[in-house]
Amino acid sequence: MDFSNVLLTTVTFAPLIGVLVILFIPKERETAIRWLAMAASLATFAISMALLAQFDRSSSALQMVERRAWFSLAGVDIEYFLGVDGLSLLLVLLTTFLTPISILSTWTAIEERVKEFMVFFLLLEVGMVGVFLAQDLFMFYIFWEFTLVPMYFLIGIWGGPRRVYAAIKFFLYTMAGSILMLLAILWLGIQFESFAVPDLIATANIPGNIQTWLFLAFAAAFAIKVPMWPLHSWLPDAHVEAPTAGSVILAGVLLKMGTYGFVRFNIPLFPQAAVQLAPYMALLAVIGILYGAAVSYAQKDVKKLVAYSSVSHLGFVILGLFALNPQGIQGGILQMVNHGLSTGALFIIVGMIYERRHTRDMEAFGGLWKVMPIYGAMTLIVTLSSMGLPGLNGFVGEFTILLGAFGSDAIGSSVYAGFAAAGVILAAIYMLFMFQKLFLGPVDKEENKNLKDLNWREIATLVPLLVFIFWIGLYPKPFFSLIAPSVEKLVSALGTASMVVR
C-alpha cells in the first residue's frame, strides 16, 4: 500500500490503530498493553520521520497537502484539509517524539486502569497532531476541542488528590476560550464562504476594526491555552494534579497549541490587528515572564515551581512571536520546542522522585546528588537548559527571541525586551534555588539515604531529551532552516499590513 500521498493522514491517525488493538486486549494484561501503546507511538514517530524526510526545506508553501471535500454545511464546503509547513513541522515532530517518552515514563507510575490510560493517551496524540496539521478552521476546531476530552480523563482519573477539581477547571477554562473562537470561525465562514486557512489569507479582506474583534476572539482561545497572564490560573492546578505523563504532554505539547494558534491563525489572518496589538501582547508576555518567575521562586512544591516556570517561559515565546520579525518568530517557534523538551524533562524528573518518596516538597530533600548521582547529573543539565545556559537549547531560543524583540518595529520599544532579559536572570535564580534545595548540602533526611538511583528504563526516558537539548544548543542551524522559509513568507505578508496601519 502506498502511503506517500496520505502521509499526513497516516501520521495523524496511526495511534488510532494502537487504540483499536488495545481495546481488544483484556485489561489484566497490563504489560502487553504498555508495549502495544509504546509500539503504536513509536510507529507514529517513525512515520513522522518519513514526513521529515519528504519535507522540502527550501519551500515556504504548505506541503504534502491533502485536500478533499468533507461535507457541506449551509452551502459552505468544509474540507478535510491537512498540510504541513515550517510553522507546524517541528511541533508535529515534538508531539510524536514526546508521546513515546511519556508512555515510557509511566511504565511503573501508572498501575491502575492501564488500558484506559493508554487508550486516552493515544487518542490525545491523534488530537494534538491533528491540531498542528489541520488547515481548515472547522477541522482545526474539532481537533482542538477533542484534545480536551482525553486530557480531562487523564487528569481526572489518574491525577493527584484534587484531580476532579483540576480536571473540570482545565476543561471549563479551555472551553471558555474556544467558544469565542468558534463564533469568530463561524463569522469568517459566513462572510468568506470558506473555512480553508490559505484561502482566507489569500482572499479575505477584513476591515481593520473587525480584524481587532476577530483577533481578540481567537486570542481568547489561544491565550488561555498558552497560558498568558492573567489567564493562567488553571495551569498550576492542572499540572500539579496531572499524572507525570499528563504533565509532560500538557507542558510539552498542549500549551504549544496556544502559541501555535497565534502564529498560524492570528498573525496571518488578522495582520493589521496583530501589528496594532503587538505592544499589548508584548506587555502581557513580559508581565507573564516576570510574574511566572516570581511565583516560581515562592513555591515549595517542585512540580508547582516547574508549572509556574512554564508561564514565564511561554511569555518569551509570545514576546518573540509578536516581535513580528523573522528572528522573533523563528526564536519563538524554536523556543516552543525547547520548552517542550526541557519542561517535559523536568516533569519526568519530578515524577521520578515522587515515585520514590511520594512527596514533592522541597524541604523533604537535600543532598540527593550523593545518593543518586546519575539522577543529579541529568537534572543539572535539564535545569541549566531551562534557565538558558549558552550551549544548551534554551539559550538559543531565548537569545533569538530577545534579539527579535529588541529590534522589533511592531513592539516599538526595547523596554519590553529589557525586562524580559531580566526574566532570564530570575529563571536562573529559581531554578538554581530548586537544584540546591534538592541536590546539594548534606543528606540530612533518613528517608533519602537509601534512595535508588535511576534504572535503565528511567535513563532511557531522559537520554533522548538530553540529546536534543545539546543538539539544539550546539548546532541549531538544521532546526532554523526548517522554520525559516515559512517565517519569511509570514513576515513579508505582515509588511503590507504594517504599512496600512502606519
Binding site: E116, G156, I168, W187, G189
Partner: protein
C-alpha cells in the same frame, strides 16, 4: 385526486390505522405475552417507515391545503418513526421490570406518533390543533402509566391540567386569528397579512397566544414550569420519548406557523422569540446545575436544548436566513433525539425495579463496572455539551451559524456561554461515573443495550461524517404556498 392525497399520507394512515387495530388485537393477547403487542407496534411503525421512504421527495398540498407534504414533514416523520421504534425497544423490558406492562402502552405511543406526524404536515390551524391534541392526550395517559404510584399520577395530572390550559390558549388564538383574517389556512393567513398595510391587532394577539401554547409544548421559558415535575414523575421510558417527540412536534408547528403564515409580522415575533431563546438557554442550563437527580437534570437540560433550537426562530425572521435556520433546527432536533434517547437509555438501564437508582451519585463506579455503557453516556454528555466529534457539536454549529448569519451575534454569544455552563453539569455525570468509586447495579437487557449502542454510534458517526444527515436536512424545506 383523493386517492393520490391518501397515498401521500400513507405513513400517517398506517400508524393511526394500525394503532386502532392494535387496540382491539391487544384484547386477545394474554397478559404475560405483551411482547407480541410491542412487536406488532414495531411492525406497524416499520411499515409506516417503508411507506414514508416510498413517498420521499414529494412536495404537495393535499386536501385543499389542509395538509402539506414536503421535505420538512418528511424529515420529521423519519425522526418520529425512528424515535417511536427506539421508544418501543426501550419500554419493553423496562415496563416488565417495573411491573406496569400493559398492552395499551404501545397503542397510546402509536397514537401519539400519529399526532406528531400529522403536526409536521399541518397546513391549517385547525389541523394543528387536532394534531396537538392527538399528540398530547396519549402522553398525558402515558405519564400516569405507573399508577398507583403518586408521583406518576401527579405528573399525569399536572401535565394534563397545564396542557389543557395551553390548548385553551391555542384555541383562543386560533379564534382571534380567524376573526382577523377570516381563514384558518396558513396560506390564507399569509396572503391576508401580506396584503394588509397595518398588521391587524387581533391577528397579532392570536399569534402570540398560539406561541404561548406551543411554547408550553416545547418547554420554552417561561412556559416550562411543568417540565421537571412531569419528566421526573412519568415512567422514564415515557419521558425519553416525550422529551424528543413532543418537542419536535411543537417546533414543527411553531416554525411552520411563523414562517409560512406570519412572515409579514417577522419584525414583531423576531425580537420576542429572540428573548425567549436567550431566557430558555440561560435558565435551563443554570437550573440544571443544581440538580442531583438525573431525570431532573435531563429535564432542565431538555429545556436548555429547546432554547438552542429556539435560536432558529428569530434567525428565521430574516428572510434570507429562514431556509437555513429551519434546516438547522430540524438537524438539531434529530441530533438531540439521537443523543437524548441514548442518554435516557442509560437512565433506564440504571433504574431499579422500585424506581430508585436515579440519583447522579448512583452512577459512581459505572466506568469500571460497565465500561461500554459508561463510555456511551460520556459520549452523550459530550454531545449535549457540544464538544466534537459528536453530532451535538455539528448541530450547535449549524444553529449558531444561522444566528450569526441573521446578525444575532449576541444571541450566539449567549448560546456559547450557556454551553460552557452546561459543560459543568454534564461533566459532573462523567466525573461520577469515572472518578468516584462505587458498585452500581445495572440492568443488562439486550434490547435496551442495543438502543444505547445504536444511539452512541449515531452520535459519533454523524459527528464525524454528518454529510448524509446534512443532505437530508437540506431537503427539509417548506412547500411554496
Amino acid at each position: 385526486m383523493l386517492i393520490d392525497d391518501l397515498l401521500s399520507i400513507l405513513p400517517l394512515l398506517i400508524v393511526a390505522g394500525w394503532a386502532t387495530i392494535l387496540l382491539i388485537v391487544d384484547l386477545f393477547i394474554p397478559d404475560d405475552r405483551k411482547g407480541i403487542t410491542a412487536s406488532l407496534a414495531a411492525v406497524g411503525l416499520l411499515g409506516a417507515a417503508a411507506a414514508s421512504i416510498l413517498n420521499f421527495g414529494q412536495t404537495r398540498s393535499l386536501f385543499g391545503g389542509m395538509l402539506l407534504v414536503d421535505g420538512f414533514s418528511a424529515f420529521l416523520q423519519i425522526l418520529f418513526l425512528g424515535a417511536g421504534l427506539i421508544a418501543i425497544a426501550q419500554a419493553f423490558d423496562y415496563l416488565r421490570r417495573r411491573q406496569i406492562e400493559r398492552g395499551e402502552y404501545y397503542t397510546l405511543l402509536m397514537f401519539s406518533i400519529s399526532g406528531m406526524m400529522l403536526m409536521s404536515m399541518a397546513g391549517d390551524l385547525i389541523v394543528i390543533f387536532i394534531s396537538l391534541e392527538l399528540l398530547s392526550i396519549p402522553l398525558y395517559v402515558l405519564s400516569g402509566f405507573a399508577r398507583p404510584q403518586p408521583i406518576s399520577e401527579e405528573a399525569a395530572l399536572k401535565y394534563f391540567i397545564l396542557g389543557a390550559f395551553a390548548s385553551g390558549f391555542m384555541v383562543y388564538g386560533i379564534a382571534l386569528i380567524f376573526g382577523a383574517t377570516a381563514t384558518t389556512s396558513l396560506a390564507g393567513i399569509f396572503s391576508v397579512l401580506a396584503a394588509a398595510s397595518v398588521m391587524p391587532t387581533l391577528a397579532m394577539v392570536g399569534g402570540a397566544l398560539l406561541m404561548v401554547g406551543l411554547g408550553f409544548k416545547v418547554a420554552a421559558v417561561p412556559f416550562h414550569m411543568w417540565t421537571p415535575d412531569v419528566y421526573v414523575g412519568a415512567p422514564s421510558s415515557v419521558t425519553a420519548f416525550m422529551s424528543v417527540g413532543a418537542k419536535a412536534g411543537g417546533f414543527a408547528a411553531l416554525l411552520r406557523i411563523l414562517i409560512a403564515a406570519f412572515p409579514a409580522a417577522a419584525a414583531t415575533w423576531g425580537p420576542v422569540t429572540m428573548w425567549i431563546a436567550a431566557l430558555t438557554m440561560t435558565w435551563g442550563n443554570v437550573a440544571a446545575i443544581a440538580q442531583s437527580n438525573i431525570k431532573r437534570m435531563l429535564a432542565y437540560s431538555s429545556i436548555a436544548h429547546a432554547g438552542y433550537i429556539f435560536m432558529a426562530v428569530p434567525a428565521a425572521a430574516v428572510p434570507e436566513v429562514a431556509a437555513e435556520a429551519v434546516r438547522g433546527a430540524v438537524f438539531y432536533l434529530m441530533a438531540y433525539a439521537i443523543t437524548n434517547l441514548g442518554a435516557w437509555g442509560v437512565v433506564l438501564a440504571m433504574e431499579k425495579a422500585e424506581g430508585t437508582g436515579l440519583e447522579i451519585d448512583d452512577y459512581a463506579g459505572l466506568g469500571k463496572r460497565r465500561p461500554i455503557l459508561a463510555a456511551a453516556m460520556a459520549l452523550f454528555m459530550l454531545s449535549f455539551t457540544g464538544v466534537p466529534p459528536t453530532v451535538g457539536f455539528i448541530g450547535k454549529f449549524y444553529l449558531f451559524r444561522a444566528a450569526i448569519d441573521a446578525n444575532l451575534i449576541w444571541l450566539a454569544l449567549v448560546g456559547v456561554i450557556t454551553s460552557l455552563i452546561s459543560a459543568y453539569y454534564y461533566l459532573r455525570v462523567v466525573v461520577v461515573m469515572y472518578m468516584r468509586p462505587g458498585e452500581p447495579e445495572t440492568q443488562t437487557e439486550p434490547l435496551l443495550n442495543s438502543t444505547v449502542w445504536l444511539a452512541a454510534l449515531g452520535t459519533f458517526i454523524l459527528g464525524v461524517l454528518p454529510a448524509p444527515l446534512l443532505a437530508l436536512a437540506r431537503m427539509a424545506d417548506f412547500i411554496n404556498l
